[in-house]
């Protein structure tokens, strides 16, 4: 089995020192890897990134993250990444990594993603430069995630796609319909369905729902901390053969 702990939207600020660390006190015993689905910080300052690294300092399993929109607010994303990686956190941005678990290698491909909406009610790259840039950002994120997934597949037994924005509508249920275009895009799901993955994790939608599935049948989980109501959620990726043995 491969045990994946995941949480998004921890939004660490100066007033939350100690809170995240306390919630992760036993994660080393419960999982093989900890994934962070963006919005690690509240405003995206290097100082907040240092607080995040401090909160995670006692975690000994690998920690893999993508950034979220909050992590870009101070326009210091490069420095935020540098500080996080200095703290031992692997930050994915259209890239991938692998982690060895008890029964194989799990590949993680990650990207922030972006918005645009969902098929039938989505923005189109037409008209003003700002509109083209908006959808261009989503398309670029989707393309880079696709390539990262394809690249890691041959090096891994199971593959997880890690995002901040949502690839499907189901995990947004509970949010106001009017803001769906700012919460995710079907272009992300299309990219992952084309490349293949065993599980998709995202955050960003604080009032959303936990479970969904892509049109291609890949399971999607919204792990925003406000949705899961706990420090993190654990997903146990089991090979079908193992499940058969446990049933017998």
């Amino acid at each position: 089995m491969t045990r994946i702990a995941a949480v998004g939207d921890i939004h660490v600020g100066t007033d939350s020192v100690g809170q995240v660390a306390q919630g992760l006190a036993h994660v080393d015993d419960r999982a093989d890897v900890l994934l962070l689905a963006g919005d690690l910080t509240r405003c995206g300052t290097p100082e907040e990134a240092a607080l995040v690294a401090g909160e995670l300092a006692a975690v000994t399993i690998p920690v893999v993250a993508v950034l979220g929109n909050h992590d870009f607010h101070a326009d210091s994303a490069s420095e935020v990444v540098r500080v996080l990686e200095g703290g031992g956190i692997t930050v994915l941005d259209g890239t991938s990594t692998t982690v060895s678990a008890a029964d194989g290698v799990v590949g993680i491909a990650g990207a922030k993603g972006f918005g645009g909406g969902f098929a039938g009610a989505c923005a189109t790259a037409f008209g003003e430069r700002a509109m083209k840039a908006f959808i261009g950002e989503t398309r670029a994120e989707a393309a880079r995630l696709h390539d990262a997934l394809v690249g890691v597949a041959s090096r891994a037994d199971r593959v997880v796609a890690l995002l901040h924005y949502s690839p499907v509508e189901e995990t947004l249920r509970g949010e106001r319909l009017e803001i769906y275009p700012f919460l995710g895009s079907h272009l992300l799901a299309e990219a992952i369905d084309t490349a293949g993955a065993d599980l998709i994790l995202h955050g960003h939608a604080h009032r959303g729902s936990e479970r969904g599935v892509t049109p291609g049948g890949i399971r999607v989980r919204n792990v925003a901390q406000q949705v899961i109501g706990h420090a993190y959620r654990v997903f146990d990726l089991r090979e079908p053969a193992q499940e058969d043995r446990s049933v017998a």
């Binding site: 939004h11 939350s16 599980l199 604080h206 706990h230 654990v234 090979e239």
Partner: protein
């Protein structure tokens, strides 16, 4: 319209949400803001990261919406480790 006239509710909600995003004390996008009457009240719901942030958001809203009672129903996110394990065959 006089600059002293109260903002129509639809505009006031926008101003409150802008202030919650911009103010260093709050920096929060995930607050639902509802205005109710007949006594002017602004009701805040949603989930934020810390108790200090929850209180600060109430302060920011009180400054942006003078004359309104602030009903702060925000919850603070739970960070206990009791989340279950989901098996995904």
């Amino acid at each position: 319209m006089s600059t002293d006239a109260p903002l129509p509710p639809a505009y006031l909600i926008g101003h409150i949400q802008d202030a919650l995003a911009a103010d260093d004390r709050s920096r929060e996008l995930g607050v639902d803001v509802t205005l109710t009457g007949p006594d002017p009240r602004v009701v805040l719901t949603g989930t934020v990261s810390t108790e200090a942030q929850r209180r600060a958001i109430g302060e920011v809203v009180a400054e942006v919406a003078p004359g309104y009672d602030v009903v702060n129903e925000l919850a603070v996110v739970s960070t206990d480790e009791g989340g279950g394990v989901e098996e995904l065959p």
